[in-house]
Amino acid sequence: MMDNQNCCCNYAESNNSLIMAKEELRAFKEMEGGLIPALHKVQDIYGYLPEEALKLISEELDVPITDIYGVASFYSLFSLVPKGKHVVSVCLGTACYVNGAQKILDRLSEELEVKVGKTTRDGKFTLQSTRCIGACGLAPVIMIDEKVYGRVIPNDIPKILKDFE
């Protein structure tokens, strides 16, 4: 558990999220197959799926927590650990790959000093590879948060990252 979660303001924030999540989860109680939509909703609120939220889903939807873990860990969009402030996604669709996406990913990993799938020590960036985002005409493509950068070459990386400093 992160140290700063003991701090009162973070506690308040987490408490707010909990209340908000509880409110939202009502909609999924009666929904057939509502677990996955519920996980999406809770992840929208927290940014990831913390343990307290999984427990809450378990209580509200009356699903055993092992089943929830089973589902949450199966799908790649669900994250059980917090993500960095900015999420850097390198598209590894085929069009991007044949146009050199692996080199872009390697360069990002080097510049950010972080392995693929992990978050930098300062919590600023999470580096991940992602499957086709469907902008194949601009390959290779990277996406930082919601912003898409097309036709990237490895030497563009330092400049792009500067946008987020």
Partner: protein, 621 residues
């Protein structure tokens, strides 16, 4: 609830709004606002256009945001249709250029020629007014993409104006469910998700299945890397999918449908959401549609990033709120699908053909394409190609036409090596088979498959063993893990490929690779596992020499990093030091104005130097 008469009124009054012909009465500006257009900056262009139109106080201009116009390379694209004139296409737009277009073209009626000139790759520098005149479009035939890039996907009225909901009206007022099923059967339409199963048969099986509750599912979990046609249809023409699903519901006797769409496609989800709300408002979804006794409702379910969920039984489990693992067929979903009820699952592009078949008849549909694969297919053309984009061609078109005429060939005078179709389930097709016609059966016969329609072109710089490794890493990652051949087999295939690409493989490993591939194909539970070895088998079939070269510690394409080294050619290097500055590993050293050297023990073969050297002094060995 809108009546048929009210829809006709909307159709009449909105027709002029979307009219592309010379009899328009007011100017229309269209901005391509699909994901690719926005990535290229289309939203800034749109904002500028709206602002300029407001500022200049020009009355009666319609500004429409449409889906993908098709030619990704030229995004952002803006089209202008002035009354009494042909459509003019402006490409590679910026906010400044857009401002000028509004000022000069809309206000003063003068075409801004410098922005609408499309330079073709040849030396003639042809001038085109509209994309319709360009080779990229001339060889195409648009059925599924008919409305994409033409209408505003967020306006139900514009959809109605281009004959939207006419097919549903016809079906509900004139046809019995069985007649609808028969029509689809007669059309010969085959599933565009990749397998090519006859759509009409699927409808018939579900219609005949016993059960008071049935479901229609639209499979919009487009997971193939390199395919984006479903996204483009959902972003560009969502109502066509809604209308077709409603028709399917009527034909098979279902009153509830689900659209299972990738969460990675937020814009498609947003537009579908809006479309469903609007269709309900108009009474085109919900109860007593067109005042008949037919009810049909739709709900969106988001995927959560699992490739296997494109497989129908896995998709069903995911909607049920479980892990997306596949189950043995039979029973087929037609008999026992969602919550054990008869369920019809079709892919987005398949649905996008339905209204056209209903309106124009099965004879018309069969007149396009080939005898066994009637109609068209949408491809996402990408990779090493001059004109990447979304293309829709009649079945039977030779691969060569798509790559050289529509796609305008390979950039930088490189040599074509292969075209990959069918995504991870497909294969690589070599140059000698470029004249093969594109249809389901031919592609299978040459060791590939249609798949959902990714078409990735590769040139001499792409290593085919590396490409096979790329796909195997993908499927090994995405295997649901339920059956051993897929879970462990694909992992072992990947490891063997890694061994070979790193130069540690032997001839025996190539044999192992081939044998294991055949085992997995024969024993895996679902389509994902059964087709997972295809990239290996097809590259072994056509590019076995590249595998042998890797065993001899050579990568002919110069792509596998452990098998190549960068060397500075001292007769070409002028000692400008650029390479040394960009080297992230500090492996390049030397004295200014004298040839530099790369220390091979430090070099990480990232290629940063080679991309910066202006003198071609760095060579791959």
């Amino acid at each position: 609830m809108k009546s048929i008469e009210e829809l006709n009124e909307i159709r009449q009054s909105t027709k002029m709004l979307v009219n592309q012909g010379q009899d328009r009465t007011n100017p229309r500006i269209v901005v391509g606002m699909a994901t690719c257009g926005i990535a290229a900056g289309a939203n800034l262009v749109l904002d500028t256009i709206m602002e300029e139109v407001r500022n200049l106080n020009i009355a009666d201009v319609t500004v429409a945001q449409t889906g993908c116009i098709g030619v990704c390379r030229l995004e952002p694209i803006v089209e202008v249709i002035m009354p009494g004139e042909d459509k003019i296409t402006y490409v590679e737009m910026t906010p400044e250029k857009a401002k000028k277009v509004v000022n000069q073209h809309i206000k003063e009626g003068k075409v801004v020629e410098e922005y609408n000139i499309l330079l073709s790759q040849d030396e003639e520098h042809k001038i085109y007014k509209s994309l319709n005149d360009v080779d990229f479009y001339k060889k195409q035939f648009r059925v599924a993409l008919k409305n994409c890039g033409v209408i505003d996907p967020e306006s139900i009225d514009e959809y109605i104006a281009v004959d939207g909901y006419k097919a549903l009206e016809k079906v509900l007022s004139e046809m019995k469910p069985k007649e609808v099923v028969d029509l689809i059967k007669q059309s010969g339409l085959r599933g565009r998700g990749g397998g090519g199963f006859p759509t009409g048969l699927k409808w018939e099986f579900t219609a005949k299945a016993q059960g008071d509750q049935k479901y229609v599912i639209c499979n919009a979990d487009e997971g193939d890397p390199g395919a984006f046609m479903d996204r483009s249809i959902l972003e560009g023409d969502p109502y066509t999918v809604l209308e077709a699903m409603t028709i399917a519901g009527y034909a098979i006797g279902a009153n509830k449908g689900y659209i299972y769409v990738r969460a990675e496609y937020p814009m498609a989800v947003k537009r579908l959401d809006k479309a469903i709300i609007k269709a309900k408002e108009y009474g085109l979804l919900g109860q007593k549609i067109f005042r008949t006794n037919f009810d049909f409702d739709l709900e969106i379910r988001l995927g959560a990033g699992a490739f296997v969920c494109g497989e129908e039984t896995a998709l069903i489990h995911s909607i049920e709120g479980e892990r997306g693992v596949s189950t043995q067929k039979p029973p087929f979903p037609a008999n026992s699908g969602l919550w054990g009820k008869p369920t019809l699952i079709n892919n987005v592009e398949t649905f996008a053909n339905i209204t056209q078949i209903i309106l124009k008849g099965h004879e018309w549909f069969k007149s396009i394409g080939t005898e066994k694969s009637p109609g068209t297919k949408v491809f996402a053309l990408g990779g090493k190609i001059n004109n990447p984009g979304l293309v829709e061609i009649p079945m039977g078109t030779p691969l060569r036409d798509v790559i050289y005429e529509i796609g305008d060939g390979i950039p930088n005078n490189k040599k074509f090596k292969a075209v990959q179709t069918g995504g991870p389930s497909g294969g690589c097709i070599p140059a000698e088979l470029l004249d093969s016609p594109i249809d389901y059966d031919t592609l299978i016969a040459i060791g590939s498959m249609m798949g959902s329609g990714g078409m990735i072109v590769m040139d001499e710089d792409n290593c085919m063993v590396d490409v096979a490794k790329f796909f195997l890493e993908f499927v090994a990652d995405e295997s649901c893990g339920k059956c051993t051949p897929c879970r462990i087999g694909t992992r072992r295939l990947f490891e063997l490929l890694e061994k070979i690409t790193s130069g540690n493989g032997s001839t025996a490993d190539i044999d192992k690779l081939e044998n294991l591939s055949r085992e997995i194909k024969a024993t895996a539970l679902c389509g994902l596992g059964q087709t997972a070895p295809n990239p290996v088998l097809s590259t072994l079939r056509y590019f076995r020499n590249e595998y042998s070269a890797h065993v001899n510690k050579e990568c002919p394409a110069g792509a596998c990093q452990s098998l190549i080294s960068y060397v500075i050619n001292h007769s070409k290097c002028i000692g400008c030091s650029v390479c040394s500055k960009v080297c992230p590993a500090d492996a390049i050293f030397g004295e200014l104005k004298k040839p530099y050297t790369i220390d091979q023990s430090i070099c990480v073969t990232c290629g940063a130097c080679i991309s910066k050297c202006k003198f071609n002094a760095i060579e791959i060995h």
